[in-house]
């Protein structure tokens, strides 16, 4: 778009890349910006539930206590937001999707993630497996705040952060790929930050 350059203007960004390796077009940030497509939700844990529905309609349901009883992991991961900020070495605690999907009988190729409030995002089923995805409920050792998607959000850090749905409530497994909230409005279907898949056609 080539605008007029304002000498000395950097915005709120930190250094660009520098010593660390960042995906193309990303900038480092130290704070944790809050992005949301709607009102911040407060979902009480006593009514919270997480439901996986397979392509045959079979439902697997967890309430909060059941989720807490599952073995958890503490991944440290880098976050890349499509709005161009990256935040490195973030610490989380949550349940791996490998654990949740262990007893789920499916041959689905795709997954649609649903949130409280109506947000959706789609990704290939494979991307939920092999230690790549968690239902995260703690950030930096503290309960995940509503602003960042608490009580629990999906964490799939190898894709742009819009895929890590806040206030997650379920995943529907399907044979067909259906675009989610941002994927149907111009954003890339897959969203790999290292291939800079921001928009459709990238």
């Amino acid at each position: 778009m080539g605008g007029i350059v304002s000498p000395g203007f950097r915005g709120r960004r930190g250094v660009e890349g520098g010593e660390v390796r960042l995906p193309p077009g990303q900038y480092l940030t130290e704070d944790f910006p809050v992005l949301t497509a709607g009102p911040t939700l407060r979902v009480p844990t006593d009514t919270w539930e997480f439901v996986i529905v397979t392509e045959t309609g079979e439902k697997h349901r967890w309430d909060w206590q059941q989720l807490m009883a599952l073995p958890s992991e503490r991944p440290t991961v880098d976050l890349h937001c499509v709005t161009k900020w990256s935040k490195l070495h973030t610490s989380w605690q949550g349940v791996s999707l490998d654990v949740l999907l262990e007893g789920v009988d499916t041959a689905a190729d795709y997954a649609m993630v649903h949130s409280y409030g109506g947000y959706t995002t789609n990704l290939p089923y494979e991307d939920l497996l092999h230690g790549q995805a968690w239902i995260a409920y703690k950030f930096d050792g503290e309960d995940l705040t509503p602003e960042h998607g608490g009580p629990a959000r999906l964490l799939v850090p190898h894709l742009y952060l819009w895929k890590s749905a806040k206030w997650v409530r379920g995943i529907t497994l399907t044979d067909e790929d259906t675009p989610g909230f941002w994927e149907s409005a111009g954003y890339h279907d897959y969203g790999d930050p290292w291939r800079e898949q921001r928009y459709q056609g990238d």
Binding site: L35, R42, G118, A185, Y199, G201
Partner: protein, 92 residues
């Protein structure tokens, strides 16, 4: 489910991004929500701008009325939550 009350702006903020696409000002247009049927000016929609795109919601029922994403060489406008838009036209 409790909602915070002030983390949004309004449809006035859509004036520039929509005027880039349309030949007339769209913030004075009257939109009808496909969810609850309420009518109101685009300027009065609740707009969430701290997001990968601009999201406009119905002030009555929170339904998503409009999504606007601006890429380097395309703009995407999703209006599936809006049943209709009545757009005032300047006199010839």
């Amino acid at each position: 489910m409790e909602l915070f009350s002030d983390d949004f702006t309004d449809g006035n903020a859509l004036a520039g991004p929509l005027r880039e696409i349309f030949a007339v000002d769209m913030t004075t247009a009257t939109g009808r929500c496909a969810g609850c049927g309420d009518e109101g000016p685009v300027a009065g929609m609740k707009v969430y701008a701290h997001a990968p795109g601009l999201v406009a919601r119905c002030p009555s029922c929170q339904q998503v009325l409009m999504r606007l994403v601006r890429g380097p060489s395309s703009a995407w406008l999703d209006l599936r939550g809006t049943m209709s838009l009545r757009i005032p036209m300047p006199a010839e």
